[in-house]
Every structure is written in C-alpha cells, then in structure tokens.
C-alpha cells in the first residue's frame, strides 16, 4: 500500500520557460521523482514504524533502518525529499520574486552582499563532481551556509552521512544532476545555474528561513 505520493507541481510544466524547459520539468517530475517514490514505497512497505512518518523525518532517521535498506532509502527517500522541496523552491518565470526582509539581511551579513552569495552558490553548484545538489542551509548553530551533497543526500541526513558541515535546514536547493538540465543546456551546467535565479522562489526561501530560525529558537 503506497504511503508516499507524488506531490502536484504548484504550477504548469511550461511555467518556468524559457529558463527551465517544459519537457525537462515534465520528465523530471513524472518520471524521475515518481521513480524515487515508487522505490521508496517498496522499500518501506515492511517498515510500519517508519512509513507513517514524513519523508523528511525518514531521511533524518536512516540509522533506524535495517542495514540492508539503508542505502536504498538514502537514495530514494533522499530523492523524494529533495525533489519535493525543489518544486516548491521554484516559481513561474512571471512571478516577480524578490529577496527581501530578514533573509536578505542575513545573506548580506553572512556573505557580504547578495552578489557575493550568488557567486559562492554558483561556484558550489558548478563544481559538484557528478550528481548532486547545491544548498543554502541554516546550520544547527544558526549560520547560513552554502553546501553541496552528492547524489540524493540531503542536509537533513546529518554530517556522518551527507558530509562535514552539510547538516542544517534547507533554504534553497538546486538539482545539478544532468537530468535536471541536459535537454535544454546540454553540458553547459553554468548556464542552467544562472537560469535558476530567474525561477527561484525567494518567498518560499524566506518562509523556510523563518521556520528554521523558529525551530532553532524553540530548541534552545
């Protein structure tokens, strides 16, 4: 009995043109993301204590899984969590999404300027070897940080899995697997990365930032 479902895209497949093409959005959502979900459901079908949790909770609890399931859930659970976040982190090209408020202040104070932040983010996204993601996260210490993860690893998984310094709450996410850009951008990943700024939802990022800060404060 499937527990995880493909979330509806919050906009039509062509809404991010000309930056993210319709065909890629369609295949990315209906094929790649769906496949992660199908495989995740199969893997967790016999894990009743885990498959009632949200996928974000599952990927934070990979160590609770039997050893033989961990790799698969890391990949497919990570894929489901990452892509679910990604679709909401994007917004139609026609939206005039602008960075403002507390997130803008925090970015400027951490990186010097919004431009400087974007350069750091672009460099990180460009230099991922192979498949992975670039993130802006809020670390457990309350700092904004640009990090990258390999394959379908997520900042929600913790350092021992996703790598040193990667742990935190995602604010921004960019998929740099080739399937995310190859049809339109071919091998020119930097052009795809630049296009991201035209479709990123700063409203969603600001929301995530506020939520993340709230969670940190509540924990103190």
């Amino acid at each position: 009995m499937p527990t995880y479902h493909l979330p509806t895209l919050p906009y039509p497949y062509d809404a991010l043109e000309p930056h993210f093409d319709e065909e890629t959005m369609r295949i990315h959502h209906t094929k790649h993301h769906q496949t992660y979900i199908t495989n995740l459901n199969n893997l967790l079908s016999d894990q009743p204590t885990l498959n009632t949790l949200s996928v974000e909770e599952v990927v934070a609890k990979l160590s609770h899984l039997p050893a033989e399931k961990r790799k698969g859930v890391r990949n497919h659970g990570g894929g489901h969590a990452n892509h679910s976040f990604f679709w909401r982190n994007l917004t139609p090209s026609s939206t005039n999404s602008t960075l403002s408020g507390e997130l803008k202040v925090a970015i400027e104070s951490t990186f010097g300027s919004v431009d400087a932040f974007q350069q750091v983010f672009e460099k990180a996204a460009t230099t991922v070897f192979g498949s992975g993601w670039a993130w802006l996260i809020l670390s457990p210490e309350g700092e904004l940080r640009v990090v990258t993860t390999a394959n379908q690893d997520s900042p929600l998984m913790g350092e021992s899995i996703a790598g040193p310094g990667t742990e935190g709450r995602p604010i921004l996410a960019l998929d740099v697997w080739e399937h995310a850009y190859y049809l339109r951008y071919r091998n020119v990943r930097p052009d795809y990365i630049k296009a991201y700024w035209s479709v990123v939802s700063w409203d969603f990022a600001a929301e995530q930032f506020a939520l993340a800060k709230g969670q940190l404060e509540a924990a103190l």
Binding site: K31, F129, E178, H179
Partner: protein, 243 residues
C-alpha cells in the same frame, strides 16, 4: 590513435600511483614539472593497428544504439572538458609540489583524480565501442570468451549481470569488466563519478552510465540504453586488453 596523450615519465607515473610520501612525489614532479605531458583529446577516427577497427569520422557511426548528437557532445564537449581541466589541474599540482606547498597539492588532487579519471575512462570507452560494420556487437572469442563462460556461464548471463550492475549505480558512474591484476580472474565492478580502474584491477571493457551518455536519446529509460549498447561493444578490444 593518440595513446601518447597519457604518456608521462615512468617516475611521474610511479609516484602518482603508489602511496609514496609526498616528498618522493615532489622529487618526481620537480624533475619533470618543466616537461609535463599535456593531454590531448583522442581522435575518434582512429584505426587500430592490429584490429583495424575504427569508429570513423562520423559521429553517427554508432546509430541507432547511440545517437550522433550524443556522440558529438560526449566526445567534443564532455571528454574535451576533462582533457582541458586535467591539463589545468596537472599544472596546478606541479606548481604546488615544486613550491613545496603540500596543502595546495593535496587540495588539487581531487581535481586531478576527477578530470584525469574522466580523460582515462572516456579514452578507453571510445576504444571499446565500434560500429556494427566494424565488428561492434560481435561476441568475444578465444581466451576472453572462455573466461567469461567459466566465470558467468554464458555471454548472455554475463550481460545480465553487467546490466544489473549498471542499473544499480546511484548517481554518476561507470561499470567495467575487469581483471584481477594478480590472478587474472574476471569480475564486474562499478566505479563512482570518474574514479578510474587502477590498482588491483585492470580494465577490459567499460560502459559510461552518466546521464550525459544517454539522456538526449533515452531520457530516464536507462535500461534501454544498457540493452542497446551491446550492439556496438567492441569485444576485440577487450580481448586485446586481456593479460
């Protein structure tokens, strides 16, 4: 065939390959830093001196298994980028070692590994592909055929295992038929990203499972690509590589 593209002095090669302390590598590099061999993109149109097999001057030669558009991008863009980046990384590493800047040398090594590996892997890949008209897809003979039957039961059983390995790669990587350098025994191994087959294993035959290798033609249907590529696998090359 530009097999010279990866020729380095044996001192350099030995220093890079073994786990000698950095000072030994520094010595090897400092004597050769002035004559680092720049890598160049191997020509696809290469006639092998023994087998006479060649992909030809036509990027479409491997159709319908692999489209001309993919071959063109894969060779002239992706592989070229590995070559260019490897040369840059190699120079950076050489400079750092010559200066005795250990931290910079170590920081540059992932770039050397990634781009050097990418260069190596793709060079081997083009060699182990061939159009049908040039023997692509023809089953192996001789010692390799015997060994495959011995290890896997049959060529079909081997292909199934190999394709399962390919399908199991998470993210980017390669699957290789390799030989154990000590025992000559065959096995199928997968390597992540551009990690090359070095050390304990010797590569016989590789298949690129990075999305760029198939996406324009097969999209997410990678199983179809893995099935189709056997029509253009150059088994003669794998036989030659066997030790």
């Amino acid at each position: 065939m530009s097999t010279t593209m990866l020729k380095t002095t044996s001192a350099l090669r030995a220093a890079v390959r073994n786990s000698a302390p950095l000072t030994t590598r520094a010595a090897a590099f400092s004597t050769t830093s002035a004559v680092q061999q720049k890598a160049t993109l191997p020509d696809l149109k290469c006639k092998h001196p023994i087998s006479g097999l060649e992909i030809g001057d036509d990027y479409n030669a491997l159709e319908p298994a692999i489209s001309g558009k993919i071959m063109e991008l894969h060779h002239s863009k992706h592989h070229q980028t590995y070559v260019t980046s490897y040369n840059a990384a190699q120079e950076k590493l050489g400079d750092a070692l010559a200066k005795g800047d250990i931290a910079s040398a170590i920081a540059t090594q992932p770039l050397v590994n990634f781009h050097g590996g990418g260069n190596l892997n793709h060079t081997l890949f083009w060699e182990n592909l061939a159009p049908k008209s040039q023997g692509g897809g023809e089953p192996p003979k001789g010692a390799l055929a015997k060994s495959i039957d011995g290890h896997y039961g049959s060529l079909d059983a081997f292909k199934e295992k190999f394709n399962t390995a390919l399908a199991g790669i998470q993210g980017s990587g390669w699957a290789w038929l390799v030989q154990d350098v000590d025992t000559g025994s065959l096995s199928i191994r997968t390597y992540a990203n551009q990690d090359p087959v070095v050390g304990k294993f010797h590569p016989l035959l590789g298949v690129d499972a990075w999305e760029h290798a198939y996406y324009l033609q097969y999209e997410n249907r990678k199983a179809e690509y893995f099935k189709a590529i056997w029509d253009v696998i150059n088994w003669k090359k794998a036989e030659e590589r066997m030790k």
